[in-house]
């Protein structure tokens, strides 16, 4: 069984020269086929940056300074642009964070799904529409044909996220990166969307990198998890194992900060500097840069 995604020693820096700040500092991560990996960490830990680096969507001022990203044996950082475009959407898909803004506002839902299908599977216009309707049925959207003719602003947020999920799984991808797919939805819809992702994942056998800060979601959906902090992997392993016996103090603090019904949540406690050497100096430097960087 070949590893689907292998990230080795990935470093991403924002800015150039003396002002460069490392947002990822040597992250390594392996995903086996069908594996669902939770990627957790507080805001600014670099979770989304990792996902964006894999998808080739880093912001213009960020650059990969070291490390490799390998997808199914192919070095994603070295493949020609054309080949990479063939992989994206087809073998590597994204479920974006904000369903409200991730669909093109002036194009009908059906056109957007059909575009993806025609781009990768070379379907005819009619076949693409048929397939798009099936895909919508697959994500439990009733009257799919009618929805195909609607504009994104005419359907609810939960439905838009279903459309995006349907698109992500449309071409049987080997890897799906879910970038906090439920944060923008309200709680009642969240659960349905998560169930949907789980169902489609099982059906297509895709590996999923689930970026989230919700440990409850990780506990429910992900077999393995990785804890990221300030651009570095602190702990990884089987979800049950990590949650039951966190080895790193930061993971423990993260768990303690999770709100629960049976006890009041604690504020996320900072981890003593001695335990994560150089991490705080780096984080501090980042803060100062953010201030000093402004004219």
């Amino acid at each position: 069984m070949t590893t689907v995604l292998s990230v080795q020693g990935l470093q991403v820096a924002i800015g150039k020269g003396a002002h460069a700040a490392n947002v990822l500092r040597g992250v390594s991560l392996d995903l086996q086929p069908g594996e669902v990996r939770g990627l957790v960490g507080e805001s600014g830990a670099g979770k989304s940056m990792l996902g964006r680096a894999v998808l080739g969507l880093l912001p213009a001022n960020a650059a990969i300074t070291a490390g490799t990203i390998t997808f199914a044996g192919r070095d994603l950082l070295a493949v020609p642009e054309r080949e990479r475009r063939g992989l994206l959407g087809r073998h590597i898909a994204l479920i974006p964070q904000d369903p409200m803004t991730s669909l093109n506002p002036v194009k009908r839902v059906g056109h957007q799904i059909a575009l993806l299908l025609r781009h990768h599977l070379a379907l005819s216009k009619r076949d693409a529409r048929e397939r798009a309707a099936e895909l919508l049925t697959g994500v439990a959207i009733r009257e799919p044909r009618r929805v195909l003719d609607l504009y994104p602003h005419e359907i609810s947020g939960g439905m838009r996220q279903r459309v995006l999920i349907a698109m992500a799984f449309a071409c049987d991808p080997a890897l799906v990166i879910a970038d906090e797919p439920t944060t923008a939805l309200d709680v009642t819809v969240q659960r349905q969307v998560l169930q949907l992702v789980e169902r489609l994942r099982q059906r297509h056998g895709s590996a999923v990198l689930f970026i989230t800060h919700d440990l409850g979601v990780v506990a429910k959906l992900c077999r393995t998890m990785t804890v990221l902090h300030a651009g570095r992997v602190l702990e990884e392993g089987e979800t049950a194992e990590v949650l039951a016996r966190p080895r790193h103090p930061y993971t423990r603090a993260l768990l303690a900060a999770t709100p629960r019904a049976d006890r009041p949540a604690e504020a996320l406690r900072p981890v003593p500097p001695a335990l994560i050497e150089s991490l705080w100096s780096e984080a501090f430097r980042l803060d100062r840069l953010a201030v000093a960087g402004r004219p």
């Binding site: 475009r85 093109n104 609607l150």
Partner: protein, 295 residues
């Protein structure tokens, strides 16, 4: 799994009707003015009571028919050479409409292409195009047109060329800025993740979002093109001298404005009505074409 209710059940026809209603009085008034102008230009030989060059020196400077001394044969009177003012106004509309349509469309095509390139490539490409636009816009536009038309020589083609060469910047600047804004939106990132190339992204995702903007600019530009043509023919470097134009009529009427003010007033009225018509139509269309109602 529970299905989610549609936010707004809309039938396709109902959507069009709603869109046209949204356009309101501006749309209808604009469409009516532009429609009349286009029809008059198209049907000039059929509706003009006289040939525009037919002289009748015995009945020179006749006032409009309803004023004392007017003749029923010359409904809007005659000019100093005894030519029918109404017929000349009607034939002048042909030049105006031809210039408005062709010049504005060409300027739009060039401006949109360069704007998209500058906005999407960024870097030195953007710098080069942006500086070119800055330098271009530093010239007084009408003066530049006059110089160009004088250099190229008289004729419809040179008038159109003069307008296109001057006015493409108007489109390029706005399209460049809007392209940059749209590319930063989530849907553009989502489109890149499905593997679209830069060209595909611009054509299939970005351009549809620019339509309301471009339509507004285009109709405003048509009004401007009419004005520039009027100015060029007023100073006598537009089309050949025997082709009637509103600008030429104003120039002739100016000399006898105290004896026969209608000769100058009537073409001015036509110009005002056409420019207002184009502006209103553009305003109305922008609202109609925008599927996301901005209220």
């Amino acid at each position: 799994m529970v299905d989610l209710a549609l936010a707004a059940p809309v039938a396709p026809q109902a959507r069009w009707i709603a869109a046209l209603k949204r356009g309101g009085a501006r749309l209808w008034l604009g469409a009516a003015l532009v429609g009349v102008l286009a029809l008059v230009a198209l049907l000039a030989p059929l509706i003009a009571p006289h040939h525009p060059l037919e002289q009748d020196l015995m009945s020179a400077q006749l006032p409009p028919a309803w004023v004392t001394g007017g003749e029923a044969a010359y409904w809007l009177g005659t000019d100093s050479l005894g030519r029918c003012v109404l017929s000349r106004l009607i034939y002048s509309a042909r030049t105006a409409v031809a210039v408005a349509l062709i010049a504005a469309s060409l300027a739009a095509a060039i401006g949109i292409a360069l704007g998209l390139i500058a906005g999407s490539f960024g870097g030195w490409v953007d710098q080069a195009i942006s500086r070119l636009i800055d330098v271009w816009m530093a010239f007084p536009p009408v003066l530049l047109s006059i110089v160009l038309a004088a250099v190229i020589g008289a004729g419809l083609t040179s008038v159109i060329a003069a307008i296109v060469v001057v006015d493409w910047t108007r489109f390029a600047r706005v399209v460049r800025a809007e392209t940059m804004v749209q590319l930063k939106r989530d849907y553009a990132a989502a489109a890149r993740v499905i593997g679209l190339s830069r060209g595909g992204l611009l054509r299939l995702e970005i351009l549809p979002n620019l339509v309301p903007l471009v339509v507004t600019l285009l109709s405003v530009e048509m009004g401007i093109a009419i004005l520039v043509e009027v100015i060029l023919s007023f100073v006598g470097i537009s089309v050949a001298g025997d082709v009637p134009t509103w600008g030429g009529m104003i120039a002739e009427g100016r000399q006898i404005v105290y004896q026969a003010p209608w000769i100058m007033a009537l073409p001015i009225g036509c110009i005002i009505a056409s420019v207002i018509g184009f502006n209103l139509l553009g305003d109305g269309l922008r609202i109609v074409l925008d599927p996301v109602q901005r209220q």
